[in-house]
Amino acid sequence: MLLLTRRRHQSIMIGDDICIQVLGIMGHHVELGITAPKNISVHREEVFLALKEENKASAQTQWIDFKRVMKKIKNSKKGI
């Protein structure tokens, strides 16, 4: 892992076009400004990991369970 020390308003470049700037430091919180090309997705790690886990859980759906749900929803009067 590369370790860098930055002060407020200093930045880090990743490649040619991703820039991460330290905007402010408040106690244990660091405020970062990120500039990146449109095709680069930027997300908080915990959000990304949670979504990855949820997609994984969905992908593990067994056909038999999907069939059960299809049947149940079809017969249900209240809908989904």
């Binding site: 449109k38 095709n39 997705s41 997300h43 959000v47 990304f48 949670a50 979504l51 990855k52 886990e53 949820e54 997609n55 994984k56 859980a57 969905s58 992908a59 759906t61 067994q62 056909w63 038999i64 369970d65 999907f66 069939k67 059960r68 749900v69 299809m70 049947k71 149940k72 929803i73 079809k74 249900s76 209240k78 809908g79 989904i80």
Partner: protein
């Protein structure tokens, strides 16, 4: 238009049936970034199983055998579900007219609770019907839950 068939392997040991779906070119969608955590799978077929009611689909990978996601279309979403697409999101699937868009949520079927399903409303799938480009959008903040519980 070429029709190809996708086979879903029997899941239950005792089941010998293989589910086969016919798909045509118009059912194929391109996720240029894949789904979150599944970036290697780009091409998917959107399948409506014969026994499914309106609004239930399977998103079946054409790149990774066996990878598929149950989906629910927005017609079955809670009515208060509204969000704004960012310019980046619009650009990434070249969406110029909102009427060309369809919206889906990835559904998780919990195995330990039999009377509910979960819809991922924080990361919906937006599909551009015109060019068949699609993207799993990640909505910021805590507007909508990853697990929106729906009783069935």
């Amino acid at each position: 238009m070429d029709e190809s068939a996708i086979s879903i392997k029997p899941i239950a040991e005792e089941s010998s049936s293989v589910e086969t779906f016919n798909i045509s070119d118009k059912d194929i969608f391109y996720f240029n970034e894949g789904l979150v955590g599944f970036s290697l799978s780009r091409r998917f077929a959107l399948i409506k199983p014969a026994e499914a009611r309106e609004g239930l689909y399977l998103l079946h990978s054409l790149d990774e055998p066996g990878l598929r996601f149950p989906l629910v279309s927005s017609s079955l979403f809670p009515s208060k579900y509204r969000f704004t697409l960012t310019l980046n999101d619009l650009a990434s699937i070249d969406l110029r007219d909102i009427n060309d868009a369809s919206l889906y949520a990835v559904m998780t079927i919990p195995t330990h609770v039999k009377n509910e399903v979960w819809l991922n409303l924080q990361a919906p799938l937006v599909v551009n019907k015109k060019n068949q480009q699609a993207k799993q959008i990640i909505l910021d903040g805590k507007l909508f839950p990853i697990r929106f519980r729906v009783e069935i």
